[in-house]
Symmetry: C4
Amino acid sequence: MVEQFEEMATGIVSVARGFYARGWLLGTSGNLSAVVQREPLRLAITASGVDKGELSSEQVILIDEDARLLNEYPGKPSDESLLHTCIAKQRGAGAVLHTHSIWNTILSDLYANDGGVRIEGYEMLKGLAGVRTHEHSEWLPIVDNSQDMPALAETVSKILNEHPSAHGFLIRRHGLYAWGENLAQAKRHVEILEFLLEAMGRAIEIKQSELNRG
Amino acid sequence: MVEQFEEMATGIVSVARGFYARGWLLGTSGNLSAVVQREPLRLAITASGVDKGELSSEQVILIDEDARLLNEYPGKPSDESLLHTCIAKQRGAGAVLHTHSIWNTILSDLYANDGGVRIEGYEMLKGLAGVRTHEHSEWLPIVDNSQDMPALAETVSKILNEHPSAHGFLIRRHGLYAWGENLAQAKRHVEILEFLLEAMGRAIEIKQSELNRG
Amino acid sequence: MVEQFEEMATGIVSVARGFYARGWLLGTSGNLSAVVQREPLRLAITASGVDKGELSSEQVILIDEDARLLNEYPGKPSDESLLHTCIAKQRGAGAVLHTHSIWNTILSDLYANDGGVRIEGYEMLKGLAGVRTHEHSEWLPIVDNSQDMPALAETVSKILNEHPSAHGFLIRRHGLYAWGENLAQAKRHVEILEFLLEAMGRAIEIKQSELNRG
Amino acid sequence: MVEQFEEMATGIVSVARGFYARGWLLGTSGNLSAVVQREPLRLAITASGVDKGELSSEQVILIDEDARLLNEYPGKPSDESLLHTCIAKQRGAGAVLHTHSIWNTILSDLYANDGGVRIEGYEMLKGLAGVRTHEHSEWLPIVDNSQDMPALAETVSKILNEHPSAHGFLIRRHGLYAWGENLAQAKRHVEILEFLLEAMGRAIEIKQSELNRG
């Protein structure tokens, strides 16, 4: 398991530095995890409060399914680790990535009253696992933010049940969670959802301007 | 031919990493190809579903004019390889590049009903092969998106015939195709068209705001 | 103290290059400092007029609490060094960072008549020291710009007194000051405040467009 | 002079790569030059049509005051080299930089009928040589674009005479020219002017949105 953990930690560091460069993990925000072992569940996950632009594999820790720290580390798991284990279990995900981007923050607020964002008609959607056509209609649920982690985990669990084909969800004014069967797929899903949220956000502005001219 | 293939693969990797950094190839989207041999046609092209930010030359494959895989590779050519061979043949292009950017996605939708985007009056246009003045008027055709690749290739072929001087085209809510006599020129064309689409998109927003101010 | 100074200089160089890449320190703008010794106060601070993208530790100088140069250096401390020593003393900060970003420039002007910007309801706020919930309401004071540094330092001192829990402040059409107990925390605070100012700025535009669509 | 030329070429390569990364020199656009010798005038300048992201010092050529190529090189000087020698002579500049950015393109068009852009009240202005206060009012003249280089050089010469304190000028829908007594100062001036044009462009959009909200 040690080797598997080290491989996951190295992969997490690489993804973290790339996402940080794009501004999706500023200010020590966000968390990245990958499953090291399924039974019993063991996750490699970024520790709480670490700078993702300077992340080292020593700052990736090992937790169990209740998000308890299993290896020696001078810090602690992030409170949100519970959401990672919840998604890993309920979706059978091999990796869970949580980003704080400008556009996911804005759209999670703009569409909060609708309970989610519908994304459809974009070729980019085909990059989501199981999607075969741009005519796919993706519903990205939005849940309210909360500091009560067990309660938030319960809400998330309910949302995952209600939307079995969702590839991610937003927490209002907080960020995006996406996952995949492994780190590469989870990274791909984040990039696609972040791209589509930005494209939709900018399209709202430009279409309005175009209408006004018209 | 091996040497030529390796040279093209190395060039494709370099362009891919640069475009990925700009956010034009996120989520394994997009494809890049270069002609290795003209008769019979042989293309070096990025394999399906590979991360362009971590692309290695081993992920660049060799295909024939019907987009069939010719070398050993554990994956497959992208479905869109057919568009690459179509452009390489019909335009005599030495390289074909396909990007998914925020701005080409938005403008391909905004002007879809016009059948294309007219770009004129910009100095940047002079970077397109054969263009000598900013007074040039470039018509960037837009075709509807489709998952029926042979049908889409036919549409593209028709568009290329109808617009013999076009330097690229857009697929609605999908992306940009541009090409050149070699990889360097194709890269230049993509950078110019992406720049101009972004400049036009942002100009729509700002001019409207300026008008409202009165 | 030499060792401590060199450690601070190295840290400042690293933060400066990262912020420069994000466009927050263009044109030799901005200043970064870290406390080397508390009693008497000694600060390591970027010299005046140096390119932050090519900053070397030789361009980080040592000053006393009146912003006088203490080590050999062919240039001089920035006029704004007085604000750094003021913040270091009054807040007990271990590091003070001053950035010139597009969004802090715009919002410092947009909300100048209100005397500050209220930021609330964002998860990102939890990255500010002592903040435990997104329901936190942060008041980011705005002071008028001035070239009279002693006068500006006095204004800043007054603002710091009036808003004892503020994590930063804006100078109108000028930039952001933020600080922390050490360089890592100050960097985190800058990233969080810059992120939130950009998110708020873009949200104003998009919400207006959405309203117009109606 | 060889040593001086090589030093300038190395400096130009470094600035070019940085500006390319920011998107200010896409598609082989833009030109960068530095004075190698004043009497008779000798300029090191980027050759025509080279990729600024992969610029090597071999692609920096030596020209005289009439923009004639003086060293061995398989290409030719850019047509716009005449503007560089004009500015070097008339302003006594040690370096001249010409960028094509999104925001300088848009604002050069938006304010073309006014004949220039007035920039005032920003702290960033203090980074322009000789400016001591944010209360400075900078007039950035805009000239119409033309492919008749001798005519354009004459217009530029006239504009430089009419606005002796201008630190740069825009060519409509084309780009920015700025200069300095050496490469470092010219780079600083470009960064400052690009920053201010972007800040002003975005401020127009956001203030309008804010007004509409009422």
